[in-house]
Symmetry: C2
Amino acid sequence: MSNPTAAMLVIGDEILSGRTRDANMHHLAGELTKAGITLSEVRVVSDDAPAIVAAVQALSAAYDTVFTSGGIGPTHDDITADCIAEAFGAHIDVRDDARALLAAFYEETGREFNAARMRMARIPDGATLIDNPVSVAPGFTLNNVHVMAGVPSVFQAMLATVLPTLTGGAPLLSQTLRINRGEGDIAGPLADLAARYPALSIGSYPFQDNGVYGANIVMRSSDGPLLDKAMCELAEIFPA
Amino acid sequence: MSNPTAAMLVIGDEILSGRTRDANMHHLAGELTKAGITLSEVRVVSDDAPAIVAAVQALSAAYDTVFTSGGIGPTHDDITADCIAEAFGAHIDVRDDARALLAAFYEETGREFNAARMRMARIPDGATLIDNPVSVAPGFTLNNVHVMAGVPSVFQAMLATVLPTLTGGAPLLSQTLRINRGEGDIAGPLADLAARYPALSIGSYPFQDNGVYGANIVMRSSDGPLLDKAMCELAEIFPA
């Protein structure tokens, strides 16, 4: 049986303008691979409601699970929660459970719980809150979409909460062989090997190192013995 | 008049598995911003022909220009050129101009120009070659899609060739004010300001620095005087 699939939607003008380099995609990719969930697609869109709504609908329909990152803070450009509600035709308003969390946090830290901060308690009906151990304002899960913060420390904490609730597949194992020959010299025998092992994902990632051409051949599968067998064959074809 | 729009399609299992952290998106985002072209969407898909074809068709129809990165090498997992041809119903085969470039390069460097390397001369009919000053194997432009390598040094070189051929808009200017107050305290007055300057893109990017909450407020526009005016107002509302 093949592993469950996932997609990610990164929301934020700051990524698309080049101001910020996204860190959450790489983190999510690594965590999902360990959990045996295949990250099949990532999209990055700007803080634009129609673009967010369309992407959420497309990804939610196409994959088992969707993770979003960004746009759930208190400022005017934080429109993710409302877009998720719109994408699923859900009602959204300030919800008592989220408001209570925030009220307690601001009382404790002596800051004003004003109208802007109240925006972070806007949660669609039917959603489950996702804990935010860093800065309290919660994420939420609606249907198969997990709505999480863009700040990397918060994104990572929320992911750590959500991941154990998901059904993963067999963890994807990976083996790499570094071959100090040009990719063009490797390609023919490698294609033959790939044809003999259709169940393996086999990738070739070229490099140049002090003028030496080479490639890292990466094989991925959740079938350890099959991976070992193919890797031994590869090492025989290209001895060190 | 609004600036031309662009999208990027990153092709590669290695990004989605978390093995490699993409570097081309951030580079492209910065270069396009300088050129006055708005990067509106990025998608990352795996080495899967139907996924690549569908994404190329969707992005090519929705935006003025599309850049792809990855999948144009000599190995079996390099399927981008064939997918681009399929997306536009173009015929694809080894093309004489690309073959001549590669033949000269391999003759000069004393390496075999074999069948695998010949794959890199497969170019769709009607496409224009994009120079590769790093490792010769060319990219190409078909319709509004620029097909470039995934290796960052090659991607950057190809982009430097392509960018001057595109019609940009007015360069997007950006100004940032760091405010050492919680985003929730800033949000109300900031939303009022944003409402008074609908032509500006105004984003708020929170941080925590040694326990101090703050936010960088970034304003973007190609209208310098307008940007200055709004930034002065913001600085008056939140004096240092």
